[in-house]
């Protein structure tokens, strides 16, 4: 498809992004990561900084429905995007089912990795629903079954040093069973 460069240059890039339903102007410093923008400019500190290098998953957010490490992405790249953070998933008074299940199953201790785990789990459920395979799926062409091993594999980008893993998987299994995701 041919691109009309003259027309493209006339269209200013979108310098705003939608975060949890509200449109925000992106930062002017091109060095600012999506993570630091959310935390420091928007005050959405539910998204955590654990390593700033994409190694721990604490900063997981949903961008247009897909999970990414917000620390590995510059804010300026997100013009026109729709971003959902933990604050958009539920509030202390109105918890989403995943959040409620984490509390019930004690799927956290210190709580620092927790928002990332929950954002990751939310995207994971959508990926399962869409039939995405993983490295441990026996048949990559078949619709995946949310076995504990599948869930562990798909959650392995989110570290938890307190070691709440078994409880996190139990929380996920509960919600997946209740919502009949797969």
């Amino acid at each position: 498809m041919a691109t009309n460069l003259a027309t493209a240059q006339l269209t200013a890039p979108d310098s705003t992004a939608n975060v949890n339903g509200t449109q925000h102007a992106l930062p002017t410093d091109p060095r600012r990561t999506l993570l630091d923008w959310l935390r420091d400019d928007l005050g959405l500190t539910g998204t955590k900084k654990g390593c700033d290098h994409g190694q721990c998953g604490a900063c997981t957010v949903l961008v247009d429905g897909r999970r990414i490490n917000a620390c590995l992405s510059l804010a300026a790249l997100h013009g026109g995007d729709t971003i959902e953070t933990i604050e958009g998933i539920g509030t202390p008074d109105v918890l989403a089912p995943l959040q409620r299940a984490f509390v019930t199953h004690d799927g956290f201790q210190c709580g620092y990795c927790t928002p990332g785990q929950i954002c990751s789990a939310k995207a994971l459920m959508e990926e399962l629903a869409q039939g995405w395979p993983s490295a441990v799926s026996a048949d990559v062409a078949a619709h995946p079954t949310p076995t504990p091993d599948e869930l562990r594999e798909r959650m392995s980008g989110n570290l938890c040093r307190c070691g709440a893993y078994a409880n996190i998987i139990a929380a996920l299994e509960d919600v997946i069973a209740a919502e009949d995701v797969a």
């Binding site: 933990i86 409620r100 040093r161 307190c162 893993y165």
Partner: protein, 745 residues
């Protein structure tokens, strides 16, 4: 009966008050009250407070191992946009404070003692500006004239006895080894470990006149206040630390460290709030490491499998002059018999970052080695590893003769055996093969000393009949919010929703702090005592003895059936009491420890040597369970650490310059979801009056103490490879693997 109001815990409190209360909330698996905040991202951690005018500082680390800063080229970076200051103050720290130091650690950051030590702080309007300037800052150094070596096992290393512990010696170990029917003499190694708490160390420092307010991430606030005050040369009562939520600690936040001190100095110099958050790499390089260990274990047994001799000697390391020495033999002192014994720790003085407490200092690495060695001995004798443990539980602590307050090891072994299905274990290795995987089972005992430290807490029974618990005790994920509320709810007869717990602020009475598994029993006992004092007043008003007072669901009733609602008894006024406890004679007169047993099933790949943990069971006895949900989580978490310690975790230092090579989470491998199988946790019923008035003992570290040994023993049982160097990575297993094409050996 009058209450034992002495702070000192000198006599076991056999009254067992909690079992005679009526509310029925103690021990229940209640959800954490702060859970909704944590899962919605609205719990505020150190770096997240919104403070007007706050600017960001980034630490600069030394690019040499040892020497002196001779010049800092400030002007280059001060000219950059947004840069406000380059701080290099003599008060800045070069080591972290050890747990419970309550005084400044080594200061004068211009003297470089190890690679990666902080030497300066760059402050700018934004984090990006500060980070770039910190990266660009040029520093000149002169080399040290008398450098310390980098390799604890190299030549010319100075090896010392620890300053605060002595060897345990009894009988004649050499002779016991000679005359023993069965003996082993083995050397094991464990690598350095990182706490790697998920929240990096962070502080926002703010001066209000002469007073300093820190929003920080620390474990032991009452001590931290003194440490920071001593660093700055101000009175401790001028410092307030606020830390309601701490994103994990595991020892690394016991003592004050670089970001707090430098933030406070910068804030004073600039006259505005300064935030310093360490990068993940800085946390690894400059805060605290668990020392690597080299351990020699000698076990001598008689023909019946009873230990007649036990030797456990360890070489650990630390910076010159640093008091802490990983107490490797701490549990070996009391766990098994063998009157002929030598237990000893020595410290090699080297140039690497400060060695200090990482979750379960001592037992975490000592127990995994002792328990692996016990497995070797059981095999040599030809008895079940469970039987070997059971035959060697002494009546009193060897050599010193101290009685045990309570010991649930036998019960843990027996419950674990049943739940895990230990009877299915093959005695000899290489007997079970599933496809390309060898399958094996292993076990280990768990043991961790129990400690109480001074603690205070204030409890207010409000006029409306609700209660408020206040202490500077932290909750680092341990469940403090939950259990302190349950203790108060039980003692005062209140539904849990009627109790509010506020923590982590030095404006409140000084709790124990979180460390050494002592937070719950120490601060919990203080809460209990405050509640007892409130009960005294209520009983008087109702006209009965305190021991006859029944409190439930907000009502008070006496033995004669008289009953009044709390608001009625309180008559519009709050009742406020501060409870206090300090360790006393019970700490010396009894050997106090939490016990347990680990069981692991592993698969070892017959071709690659890859190890997968397939399932684990842990059974634990640690006195009263205060909350079955959070206690179980502590045990689970500990066992996950055991998996890491057994299979993946290892700090790698370059022995040419002491540089920590794997200084982040991509290279230092903590267990991930895929590494952790289903884990079963069994909590045993126990009451230990010597340990605390709550009848409870510590549980925060027990789950790691021996867990890696069970996994190593399972690896041996699976494939017949005994690796005496943790972690059991495949490169160490492959060379000794049996012929993968043989179905059984």
């Amino acid at each position: 009966m009058h209450l034992p109001l002495s702070d000192m815990y000198n006599q076991p409190d056999e009254r067992n008050r909690l079992d005679h209360m009526r509310q029925g909330v103690i021990g229940k698996p209640l959800d954490r009250p702060e859970g909704p905040l944590k899962v919605s991202g609205t719990a505020t951690y150190a770096a997240e407070w919104r403070i007007a005018g706050c600017v960001d500082g980034v630490l600069v680390l030394a690019s040499i191992a040892q020497g002196q800063v001779s010049a800092i080229h400030r002007d280059d970076v001060l000219a950059r946009e947004g840069v406000l200051a380059v701080i290099a103050d003599p008060a800045m720290t070069r080591r972290s404070a050890q747990g419970m130091a309550a005084k400044a650690p080594q200061q004068d950051a211009a003297r470089v003692e190890y690679f990666g030590q902080p030497v300066a702080l760059v402050v700018a309007q934004t984090f990006e500006q500060a980070r770039d300037a910190a990266l660009a800052l040029r520093i000149d150094y002169t080399d040290a004239s008398d450098p310390a070596p980098f390799d604890p096992h190299g030549s010319g290393v100075k090896v010392e006895a620890p300053s605060d512990s002595k060897p345990v010696e009894g009988g004649d170990l050499d002779q016991a080894m000679e005359t023993a029917a069965f003996s082993i003499d083995v050397e094991y190694e464990t690598p350095g470990h990182a706490s790697a708490a998920m929240e990096p160390h962070a502080t926002i420092a703010q001066w209000q006149g002469d007073n300093l307010v820190l929003h920080g991430s620390y474990q032991m606030l009452a001590y931290n206040v003194k440490e920071i005050a001593d660093c700055l040369g101000i009175a401790a009562d001028k410092v307030r630390i606020i830390a309601p939520y701490v994103g994990g600690g595991f020892g690394s936040k016991l003592g004050i460290t670089h970001e707090a001190v430098s933030a406070a100095i910068a804030a004073r110099e600039l006259g505005r709030p300064v935030r310093v958050v360490m990068t993940r790499q800085q946390v690894f390089q400059t805060v605290m490491r668990r020392s690597e260990t080299r351990q020699r274990v000698r076990l001598a047994a008689d023909p019946a499998g009873r230990l007649i001799g036990l030797g456990h000697e360890a070489l650990v390391s630390n910076l010159p002059g640093e008091k802490f020495a990983e107490p490797v033999t701490q549990a070996t002192e009391f766990l098994y018999g063998g009157e002929n014994r030598l237990l000893k720790v020595e410290v090699a003085r080297i140039s690497r970052l400060t060695a200090g407490s990482v979750r379960a200092p001592g037992e975490a690495v000592g127990m995994q080695v002792l328990e692996a060695a016990m497995d070797e001995l059981a095999e040599k004798i030809g008895i079940d590893p469970i039987d070997l443990r059971k035959r060697n539980l002494p009546a009193t602590v060897p050599v010193e003769g101290t009685p045990y307050s309570s010991r649930m090891l036998t019960q843990a072994l027996e419950e674990g055996v049943k739940a895990f299905g230990w009877s299915a274990r093959q005695t000899r290795p290489c007997q079970t093969r599933e496809g390309e995987w060898w399958i094996g089972m292993g076990m280990a005992s768990a043991a961790r000393v129990n400690m109480m430290v001074p603690a205070q807490a204030r409890v207010t029974l409000r006029a409306d009949g609700s209660a408020l618990v206040e202490t500077d005790q932290t909750d680092i994920g341990t469940g403090t919010y939950a259990i302190l509320g349950q203790i108060a709810g039980e003692m005062l007869g209140l539904p849990i929703a009627q109790v509010t717990v506020t923590l982590g602020d030095t404006a409140f009475p000084a709790g124990a702090g979180s460390g050494g598994s002592f937070g719950a029993i120490s601060t919990g006992s203080a809460v209990m005592r405050a509640c007892e004092a409130i009960r005294e007043t209520l009983a008087k008003r109702l006209g009965c003895d305190e021991t006859d007072l029944a409190l439930k669901d907000g009502s008070a009733s006496g033995p004669g059936g008289e009953s009044r609602g709390l608001p009625d008894l309180l008559d519009g006024h709050d009742l406020v009491e501060t409870g206090s406890i300090k360790p006393g004679k019970t700490a010396k007169e009894f050997s106090q420890a939490s016990y347990g047993a680990f069981f692991a099933e592993v698969a070892v790949h017959a071709f690659t040597g890859e190890v997968r943990v397939r399932r684990m069971t842990g059974a634990f006895g640690f006195g009263r369970v205060l909350n079955a949900k959070t206690a179980r989580s502590q045990c689970l978490g500990g066992m996950v650490w055991g998996i890491g310690s057994a299979l993946t975790e290892e700090l790698a230092f370059d022995t040419r310059d002491g540089h920590l090579v794997n200084h982040d989470l991509a290279e230092y491998h903590v267990p991930v979801h895929a590494d952790v199988p289903a884990i079963e946790v069994i909590l045993l019923e126990e009451r230990d009056a010597a340990a605390s008035p709550l009848q409870a003992k510590g549980v925060g570290e027990l789950g790691i103490c021996g867990a890696a040994g069970a996994i190593a023993n399972a690896v041996y049982n699976a494939c017949g490879v005994r690796v005496r160097s943790f972690p059991l990575t495949l490169d160490k297993i492959i060379p000794a693997l049996p012929d993968p094409f043989a179905s059984a050996v």
